[in-house]
Symmetry: C2
Subunit: 404 residues, 2 copies
């Protein structure tokens, strides 16, 4: 029998207990022996729930119990999660976590401890919820150099972008709806300002580079400035606007960014709707691939955590992950990264097009029917730095959205 | 240094050599030591290629060489592949294969030998080409009971269906084009009659059930009877026609089928175009997920084979896969499986609708603009057996397509 402890009985924690209890027989078969939840750590009591008789309030009871071989950290946040995880690993217990903030900030150190102790620190659920992406990257796509990962990594904002597009609803209305549905928090900033997606792409970037990509180095722009008018332009161009978190190889460097982007119909991410997440991965041999599923939610996230528990249980004395070191990776300067830009301008194309082309080079003008006071255009591929220099010459520019 | 041998220097075999040579440094790092191709087995010589100095003509040289730890079978077909793989495993060498026919027919036996010998028989490339699907099913989605797998598992037919839909081209024209592009063989029957997809869904069904699903038990219908008129009806309903290979839990049983199906816009498989493959997986906890990528082609398939080689190299004395036994699984009778059916009828809805409703129950009539000699209708959910009984009463019925 393999005994585990679950730290935190919130949404994901109660999901983990539910998944294990629901699929207990199947899971035991896959592990090769019985998987038993010995403790659930929480400050609260949970009478009448599956955790009723498992609740303990003191972490010491768990870390000092030699029977506990796997600790499941689903509390979220940095502290006390970090201390608990580190102490668990140092005590020789493998850890499975869904905590993206913890993995992005302390992953390198925790992975090193796990390797040193010949146990596992697993974090499949920290990116893409229930979507298998960490293990495919670390155990399947190992014949490839990964040259790009671009993901819709935040369900809340994808729900909002889908609603705005499909129902011509404005930002404030869809945010309220997302909050009412429980998809967005009362303070939605972690989602709508892109911080959540930023931590996730930092983790994926660290995996494919083998070095620490600091999430604070990643330029991050949320969806708070996206309006219905932007959506109308997107439609006029046959595109959609999605909050993309991406990491691309550029020569010897990686560039990483989180920003709302225009996505064309031919891109696999175009059709990802509502709260679903998807991660587009390009390998130098494999070509294009994509992983799609529920990026959040109690049971999908818990499903990924339980998948990690099963792996940890099947590999009690064997560190499986070759991942990233504490050496920090220097990303390509944002000003050097290259792409096309969609730009909205106050005024008329008739009056401004020539001057714009003088400065930006070839541009493609986009107009909206019935809109006489502004127009849009798409640039050729150029660097962010070059775009900024050009744009500085036009006070008429009122908004810019990157084109994927 | 880990020495490997590649059996067959055809499309996939030469791809495997190319992937390893191209990403050699990266692959060595992931394996933890140098991966070296010692032999390539082929009847031909390949002067001027990467395999020039590696070619041998006698399998005995490989199987008797104790230095060779991993054998890569990319010859295709049952014999001599089966004999070579079995002898390699019995000699204590792990095997990676891309051979769906071999895995579907002899997988259970070969997996058992690998387990017995504490080595690995890996076959990621046998389903979905470069798409990671075998390892996600066996190592990631292990907290779930998989209740459905539905895939677009054949690139050739998806290319043809996409062309017919997007360009209003007829079957014969797109088949010729697919052959000219090298997507379809001169004898295209393995693709267009669904046999290729059938072997792949048999493998996936065996994995999720843990028992042997015999591909000969799976009802298989190809795309040879799909006409432009069917596509027009699909468009009128806002749907597409895709060759789907699916396996679904139905009570205690599994039902598996390969057939062209109508897929609605809200289904993730709807947007899979051209030669791309995708596999939709539903777990009882995870909910919906999908894996997308290149289902065939030299380098994508080779990428998956090399991923398996890396896994085998990292796990020299450890059988990783818990998969299916030789015990045969009895599938649900086709006549008992339930779905909706789209039916085309000679005549007019005005004349036939009442009688159809008497027999089929509620139906939804679909008409094509300008088409006065026939119409279509969609049934409610009913069993295949019940559908057949009802349909037998209408000699006017000229075609039926299942609705996913």
């Amino acid at each position: 029998m393999i005994k585990i402890a679950v730290l935190g009985y919130g949404t994901v924690g109660s999901g983990v207990v539910e998944v294990i209890k629901t699929n207990q027989e199947l899971i035991n078969k896959r592990v090769g022996e019985e998987l038993d939840i010995k403790y659930v750590l929480d400050l609260r009591e949970f009478p009448g729930t599956l955790a009723e008789h498992l609740i303990v309030h003191d972490f010491e009871q768990i870390v000092n119990d030699e029977e506990v071989k796997i600790v499941v950290e689903v509390m979220g946040g940095i502290e006390p999660a970090y201390t608990f995880v580190k102490r668990s690993l140092l005590a020789g217990k493998s850890v499975a976590t869904s905590n993206k903030a913890l993995v992005a900030k302390h992953g390198a150190e925790l992975l090193a401890i796990a390797k040193e102790k010949n146990i596992n620190f697993l974090y499949e659920a920290s990116v893409g919820g229930g979507i298998p992406i960490i293990r495919p990257l670390t155990s399947s796509l190992t014949g490839d150099e990964i040259v790009e990962i671009t993901g819709i990594l935040n369900g809340t904002t994808n729900y909002m972008m889908s609603k705005m597009y499909n129902e011509n609803a404005d930002y404030d209305a869809v945010l309220k709806e997302a909050q009412a549905m429980g998809y967005a928090e009362r303070d939605p900033s972690a989602d709508v300002e892109g911080h959540d997606a930023c931590r996730k792409i930092a983790i994926l970037s660290s995996i494919i580079s083998g070095k620490l990509v600091d999430f604070e180095d990643i330029y991050t722009e949320g969806i708070t400035n996206i309006t219905l008018k932007d959506i109308q332009y997107a439609k006029a161009m046959g595109m959609k606007i999605k909050l993309l978190a991406s990491c691309k190889r550029s020569g010897e460097k990686l560039c990483a960014i989180v920003a709302p982007c225009l996505v064309s119909k031919s891109h696999p991410l175009y059709s990802i709707e509502d709260v679903f997440n998807a991660i587009f991965v390009k390998g130098n041999m494999l070509g294009d691939s994509m992983f799609y599923g529920s990026g959040a939610g109690k049971l999908p996230t818990a499903s990924a955590v339980v998948g990690d528990i099963v792996e940890a249980a099947k590999n009690p004395n064997r560190s499986m992950m070759s991942t990233w070191t504490t050496e920090k990776l220097e990303l390509e300067e944002k000003s050097e990264t290259k792409k096309k830009f969609f730009v909205r301008v106050n005024g008329t194309a008739a009056a401004l097009k020539d001057k714009l082309q003088e400065v930006f080079g070839a541009i493609e003008v986009v107009t909206l029917e019935g809109e006489e006071n502004e127009f849009g255009f798409v640039t050729e591929v150029m660097s962010e730095g070059c775009y900024e220099k050009c744009a500085a010459q036009f006070p008429e520019i009122c908004h810019m959205i990157r084109v994927e």
